[in-house]
Point group: C2
Chain length 177, copies 2
């Protein structure tokens, strides 16, 4: 308080998205090999919906020490369900991967879902080999494959639905894992 030193400036920070983050998120999404142009457009539309106040889309960003946005996630309550949430997007700047940032964003998501009374978090992804690291990431974080819709994205490309039950511990600050 008496010096100019701000401890928060030396740490990673997860916070709700703001309008001025849009360009930075677009920048690293377009640099991500896992997302095609349609997917980037869809992700940016969800962010805009969230910024416009739509309660169905909740977006958090991960800021690095320099205040740059290096990741984001978008989740929300699944329509017509009681306590189910979807994680619609989670992405980390490809230049900042393999440092646990995805796990940080995912825990922040789970905390928020649990705080809102959610009991189940679902994540959809593709069965294509390119998504194997993504699938491994979900499994490592406690998600199991709950359903598969065959040929969903295109012939030979199934939709996989991963699920994790939110327990009492989810959402508790300082829990292990």
């Amino acid at each position: 308080m008496t010096s100019g030193f701000d401890v928060r400036a030396s740490a990673l920070n997860i916070r709700p998205v703001r309008k001025e983050d849009h360009a930075q998120i677009e920048d690293f999404l377009r640099a991500s090999p896992n997302f095609n142009a349609d997917e980037v457009t869809t992700a940016l539309e969800l962010i805009d919906e969230s910024l416009a106040g739509d309660p169905d889309y909740l977006v958090n960003v991960l800021e690095n020490e320099q205040g740059h946005i290096i990741g984001f996630e978008c989740h929300g309550p699944t329509p017509l369900t009681d306590g189910t949430f979807d994680l619609y997007w989670i992405a980390v700047d490809p230049r900042a991967q393999k440092r646990g940032h995805g796990g940080r964003l995912l825990r922040a998501t789970e905390d928020d879902v649990a705080r809102r009374g959610g009991r189940l978090l679902l994540i959809e992804t593709s069965s294509q080999p390119a998504y194997a690291p993504t699938v491994a990431f979900y499994r490592r974080n406690g998600y199991h494959l709950d359903a598969r819709i065959h040929d969903f994205y295109r012939r030979g490309d199934d939709k996989l639905v991963f699920a994790k039950e939110m327990t009492e511990e989810s959402g508790r600050p300082g829990r292990s894992g």
Copy 2:
């Protein structure tokens, strides 16, 4: 042409929804035991999106001989897929059921999906016993259970995903079945 007799007035008619149909659809949806208030609201929102020109939601209505709307369906291309479509809603006025109207609407849907180059039509429903007649209706019309998301709607109430591949014959006027 020379008499006042219009043969079309004596037949059932399936056509795209118009603004003036909204009240009649709302009326019979509210009379349907299978839909709760949230679901009716969601269905009406999709109809409004369609009327506003959103190409993601295509709505047809079934008119009876007197020009009353006795059923509707809403389908559309599933985002981020190549050739997959969702049937979001299909409903027949409870006072006009058990007369094959649901099957007529479903065939009109399949024709439209095939005409648009769709290869797969998906329908989601609930595992609750109340939906057993709905499930039987889909199976009778060639849909198979492709996936189940456990506890999706609420604990003990799974989401069932039924699927049917659109073949060359789908969409051909006058095909059998």
